[in-house]
Subunit: 486 residues, 2 copies
């Protein structure tokens, strides 16, 4: 459907949203005041309280079948072995078999925050900064602001007397900042239950690439995390007594870790390059249009240590090529000052960010073989073992499918520009779970900007992003509802 | 002087020592009961109490000019900024200008110890184990047993009515286990004061190489400790977002650390080999005689990770060749599990054990140049800085000088065997300080065995080593007194 046909809808809906701005901010204010820090066991009752607050809000808006789904006790390590995981808030708005059904995901838990960390204002109070036109507080952008956006867009339809274009299902979790414990299993269980008939999934829990241009996100890299262990003597030894007469595990490990990647970022493990999907012409076009520069990367890293100079090279290496990072060493001396120890057993930690069409199992075989060969060459009497600690798959969607097309049109209506099509270098494992379990398309539709400081002090959400983001959610749902395909 | 001339002396002295055995053990018992742990600020009064206990003992034996030399407050880091360093116990026995003057050094402080560490008996009770004929307790061998030996040998002379062969000066410190704070300065100050006229220094604070054969120790390696720092971004970064697009300091550091030494222990920094004194024929002879084997090294390391197979190779690489150990990395991830961090600044720590004729300053220049060159080759936009954190010089004495000759003769009289002439791979920095400041020869004359567990649980001293060690001290002083040279 063209924008013209929906123009009358938006002409009623958008002013309504503008009018409700104070109410929307007020609801967000109430939500932010609940310190729902999922990583702090003592604050678990607050996380549950926030779930209940959301359930009350949903009820007052006319959502039905509202369920606070329990996920059981939290697995170790925990102080309280009976600690219950926070519930997942499931609910429905509308149940019309002639409409498409969209599942919206968000998380109501937040990162820890306290004034002593360096906040300018109380983190668990939503401060409306009139000068900067920003909403400041923990959760404002990650993810309480975007999550409540879904409630606000329903409210706006009701107040404006506009029929809601789709059936909505909410899946709001309270453990995202602590590994989404229990969520994957819930999605698996509810795929043919609560989530039956879902046509599309929309997640609003990421950010614009920069601060000016809206984006739609269609890809994430995966992450395979490895550990290579070199063992020698039975216990740590004194380097005065044993230095020069025994083979030191740390020396062997340095040789292995230095064989993985060079200082230009080139992965030296054979066979990996061959697994990476070639860049297509269409892809090239996407990168050309994106608003980004070397300067932005340098500002973000606080240095001039970029490996690439052009926008395309930087973004492709962040999003669509694999990378290998060496994170550290467990078992060696790590303190300040000088300690003359020969560590007996050291674990080198490194990870590879994965992209299409890398096969996780094949990659692991290449990595383990590489480490074993590198160690064998050393002729060391120590022992070496390389292994995968965990993996999370990459995710890439078709950025021109019905959902993305709808979201692109919506962006043009709300912001007046075509959104950049971005990927991200990191992982949001739940994205792939939704796609695979519900066999639907997933759209990442960010509300906030790249400088919102999601996990930092002084987290903020620009008021314009909040309000336009709500409009965007509405427009996206209307365009998607009107599209001929799923 | 031949052993024959001193035979009548030893024939009176040794039975006297045997007779006094219960008394000697009793004095050691009283000393061990004082938990003089220098690293525990709360136990500082106990360290001082032990100094006073020793002063009382010295007084009762007729030592004079007894001084508990204060060293001022302990420098930071300390909890109590007014914490006084424990005193150095100075005293004299005899003041005859016709006799030689021997300074004996020992330390009365001990390592921490508690039952929970795994001790079989209370660490601060001296337990006489009749079955094994061992004295068990913290400080039994390190260094309260040997230190009190000097008091016992004076007592034995008095009881036997034998004239003491030399003037004795004691220098007993209470901070050895915590870096000998303040001692170097005291030695410097007293070189022309309390210590004026000292002809020789004897330290009994190390161990036999093994468990059967007595040794005299004539060399120690030095230690130059280095840090190489690679800095990149302003703060730690997320490997999802920045992996592949910025130069990682940890990757550069792995390249530098892997260029220092190979898995066979060969130092790869150019110019170091050339500084090492060649092995002499006389040295070869010394190594041939020493009682040691590959099996003993494997037992000590609890592994089969030795770099050399023959006794000579092992000992030479422990004692007279340099070695390079990589100790760890500060600033990187060091915990268990997986953390996807790109560390912003990492410090690699390594040290080189130094030997004759390596020049510390020249070595540092070679190391810094090597690191800078290795970094330069990487073509990395990060920055690199290599520096010396601290150095302690090696020490080698002439094992055939008057002191060592006297101690060798004494060993033959007491144990019936020629002692092995050993060096040690580690450092005892105060050895060199005495040699340089007092311009005298220093002898390391160990009392205990290689398996005494000096810093471990169940520290012990064999009763035979205690009693024979006292005899050895006496015989050494007599032979040295009778030698024509200093």
């Amino acid at each position: 459907m063209s924008s013209d046909k929906l123009k009358p809808v938006f002409d009623k809906l958008f002013p309504q949203i503008d009018e409700l701005k104070p109410d929307f901010i007020n609801v967000l204010k109430q939500a932010v005041e609940i310190p729902a820090v999922s990583s702090d066991e003592s604050l678990r009752p607050m996380v549950v309280k926030k779930a209940e607050f959301l359930a009350d809000q949903l009820k007052s808006l006319g959502f039905h079948d509202i369920q606070l789904k329990e996920l059981g006790t939290q697995p170790p390590p925990v102080t309280n072995p009976k600690l219950q995981l926070p519930p997942v808030v499931l609910s429905r708005y509308g149940n019309d078999s002639n409409k498409k059904t969209v599942l919206v995901y968000g998380h109501y838990d937040v990162q820890p925050a306290q004034m002593e960390d360096g906040w300018d204002t109380e983190p668990f109070e939503l401060v409306v900064d009139e000068a900067t036109q920003q909403l400041k507080g923990r959760g404002s952008t990650d993810d309480t602001g975007p999550l409540t956006g879904w409630l606000h867009i329903v409210r706006a339809h009701i107040e404006a007397g506009i029929e809601f274009p789709v059936n909505l299902i909410t899946c709001f979790e309270g453990m995202e900042e602590s590994g989404s414990l229990g969520l994957e299993e819930l999605i698996g269980r509810e795929a043919t239950g609560y989530f039956k008939g879902v046509d599309a999934v929309c997640i609003s829990d990421n950010y614009w690439l920069g601060t000016k241009k809206p984006v739609l996100t269609y890809g994430l890299r995966g992450c395979n995390y490895y550990q290579v262990t070199v063992s020698g003597p039975k216990a740590d030894l004194h380097s005065g007594v044993f230095g020069g007469v025994i083979a030191e595990p740390m020396v062997d490990l340095m040789q292995i870790l230095s064989s993985l990647v060079d200082s230009q970022g080139k992965i030296l493990i054979k066979g990996i390059d061959e697994m990476v999907a070639p860049v297509t012409e269409k892809e090239h076009e996407i990168y050309k249009k994106i608003d980004f520069s070397l300067e932005e990367l340098n500002e973000a890293s606080g240095s001039n240590t970029a490996l690439y100079k052009t926008k395309e090279d930087i973004l492709m290496h962040r999003w669509r090529y694999p990378s290998l990072s060496v994170h550290g060493v467990e078992g060696a001396f790590y303190g300040q000052g000088a300690k003359t120890v020969i560590p007996a057993k050291v674990n080198g930690k490194f990870s590879i960010r994965t992209v299409p069409d890398m096969d996780s199992e094949k990659l692991t075989q290449l990595v383990v073989d590489h480490c074993n060969n590198a160690f064998k060459k050393l002729g060391s009497p120590n022992t070496c073992h390389a292994e995968l600690i965990h993996d999370g798959a990459y995710w890439v969607s078709d950025p021109f499918n019905a959902q993305f097309t709808a979201a692109s049109k919506a962006t043009q209506v709300v912001y007046g520009v075509e959104p950049d099509l971005t990927r991200e270098g990191g992982s949001i494992p739940i994205t792939l779970t939704f796609e695979q379990q519900l066999k639907t398309s997933v759209l990442l539709l960010p509300m906030g900007r790249g400088d919102d400081g999601a996990h930092s002090i002084n987290e903020k959400l620009d008021i314009s992003n909040f309000i336009n983001g709500i409009k965007l959610m509405g427009a996206y749902l209307h365009f998607y509802a009107a599209s001929p395909e799923n």
